[in-house]
Symmetry: none
Subunit: 219 residues, 4 copies
Amino acid sequence: MNIKAKPAKALQRVRKKRDAEGSKKAILEAALIEFSEFGHAGARVDRIAKNAGVSKPLIYDYFGDKEAIYAAALKEAYIQIREGEGELNLDQLNPPDAIRALVHFTMDHFRLKPWFISMLNTENLRGGDTIRELRGADEIQSVLVEKLRSVLARGAENGQFRSRVDPVELYIFIASLCYFPVSNKHTLRAVFKCPVDDAWLERRADEAADMLIRYLAPA
Amino acid sequence: MNIKAKPAKALQRVRKKRDAEGSKKAILEAALIEFSEFGHAGARVDRIAKNAGVSKPLIYDYFGDKEAIYAAALKEAYIQIREGEGELNLDQLNPPDAIRALVHFTMDHFRLKPWFISMLNTENLRGGDTIRELRGADEIQSVLVEKLRSVLARGAENGQFRSRVDPVELYIFIASLCYFPVSNKHTLRAVFKCPVDDAWLERRADEAADMLIRYLAPA
Amino acid sequence: MNIKAKPAKALQRVRKKRDAEGSKKAILEAALIEFSEFGHAGARVDRIAKNAGVSKPLIYDYFGDKEAIYAAALKEAYIQIREGEGELNLDQLNPPDAIRALVHFTMDHFRLKPWFISMLNTENLRGGDTIRELRGADEIQSVLVEKLRSVLARGAENGQFRSRVDPVELYIFIASLCYFPVSNKHTLRAVFKCPVDDAWLERRADEAADMLIRYLAPA
Amino acid sequence: MNIKAKPAKALQRVRKKRDAEGSKKAILEAALIEFSEFGHAGARVDRIAKNAGVSKPLIYDYFGDKEAIYAAALKEAYIQIREGEGELNLDQLNPPDAIRALVHFTMDHFRLKPWFISMLNTENLRGGDTIRELRGADEIQSVLVEKLRSVLARGAENGQFRSRVDPVELYIFIASLCYFPVSNKHTLRAVFKCPVDDAWLERRADEAADMLIRYLAPA
DNA sequence: AATGAATGAGTTTTCATTCAT
DNA sequence: TATGAATGAAAACTCATTCAT
């Protein structure tokens, strides 16, 4: 389980001292973990400082206030999640296979970087106040939509897919199908007795891919 | 103050005094609003008391501590969401139409009772600690799964649907497709510039229903 | 010496508990002492709480924040200084004697209630930000000006005083002559080696009265 | 932040580097402004450094600690105010005119170098702890008393003035009459609705001079 | 001579919770 | 059944001061 609010050992970094960049990075990482584990109101600057291996004043020096730390952490969540998306190569794959690969990639992403979903949930609970003000929307824009657009074009070209499918809307379907089981794993376990583990999630991804591929097939 | 105290609609109740049941109910409703609006850590007992029109000691008298208020509110969220689910009558509908109706019903549910999604998000952010301990799982179990089971049976019988589709897994698909666009409306707006409003959501529901119906069709 | 920043024993009050009015009054008194002794920035809410015999949260509950406590203390300083001014009866006195009495009264006031001068100094150092916003200007308006007006009228009538002397401007002369030696006693001692004690201050008041009476005499 | 950071005019110096004397002077000037604007407790070493255009460690290197910076600034206030006092030439003037000139000189001094009054207020609020320890009392001793002594002598000689007037006590009268309206300008505005501006102050000075000259006249 | 990096020890403020009636 | 009065414990944030270069 990834999002447990208990031990939070988050091993204290060993860092070279008097290294502003390093300190800032360490704070950001600790903040990301803290906010995703405890939410905005539940996060503690004390813990961020401790886990980053710096003093609290340094954090305030670099970021300003808790809200600003949170904003930086939210942006960092997007930046980190976007890293790696570029490496996903769908060009060589048969369009239906590309869809399946993308679904699995997305599910793995959510599964393996649970702080991303936590940050999204936290931010949406807060009404999106922070992301709305975030500079640099480019950095948080997913490249997956573009990859998807190209897959859809190839599929439409060779007759495997319907034409005129909006890649954003399709991506939202994919994200929806991967997001919910990961985000709501605790309530799913409690309410539906689902064994929400890696294998189960991968099976869900596979089934979702089936559904999506059928959905894309021409009538 | 850190958390923007939104409109604070929740107009203070006018209640007859010395009405234990009424007080308890009022507290529960105020708590549900409070926790869904601010999350577990962000919720304030003061505000709950004010919005419920009672004193803080009374809340502690009835519930014990903040955690217990939260648990009661979480349960209340499920109880309230389950209300009305029973009324949904799918028996008269052609199975594909029943699926479509169920998808719309779910989307409307999420859309119109936003505190439900907020509570689920909050609880999952907290690692499901509370729901795991919640007594009376029956009360939080959705009847939609049973309705779905019967629709699937009818569909399989008359050849419109594949057989051997697990109603829980199907329900999770439906929930996923409805949950994500509502839950993540703020980030969707910011990142994908989606106009997340009622009409848009209904269109998403319709499209999702198309996809699901195709998915259920026999190969 | 009155304004010493050292011991501040300010004996902790013995108060009956659960007495909101009493608590509020106690806080106000402690705040007045604290702010006048240490200035706005130097004042400590901790000390106010301790000297008032209440907890810090109670202070915040009643007043809001440090700035509001300060504003209340400033107003209280004026209210307390205005108490007693009403009792001063100049009507029976020969106008020159009335002037002399008023000067001594003012000097005594400043001398015996040193927190008043301290609060004025503090507020003026802060640019008057707080007094400018203070509601209830009536409460801080001195009745001495009115008393002075009547004395001046009597004096003009019977030929002892010039006519057309503005009572406000005269009062400012009186205040100036009493204020400076009290307010600046420490620097006067250090720079001019003045023995600024009660006797010396009373002699200054007497001399000032001489000067003022001459000033008022008709040419 | 509590204290409104006023315009922060004090434009950051451009200074040649490695200039010990220049740095020290810059720090002193910035400190004088800072302490007079915010008082002892309200002053911030950060701001002094920034406005002086140097780093904080340099300040500590040169002065020791905040208390020492304050002491230096207080002394500097006296030194700066004493500059120019020497140039005032009263010898050529008829004694009454000399008195009037001295009053105006004093009023202008206070009016045009407001940090002096602020520093005096600050120091007196602190109980004179610092000035009492200040070395070099000569530097802070006003020459005006000596000038006054000579004017009084001339006046007494030619019969315009009474004899046996103590120049220190007279100087305190003058200072009192000029100090109060400048020092308390904000409260005077708020409480008495006085239009405390340059013209008003000059009129007060003129009126004060009238009063003092009468006071000095032989019975 | 000078400073960027860093922090210990506060200080204001908040909040769940209890006391006394 | 109900609450006004009150607080311990902790949270965010600040600031004089020092370290390492």
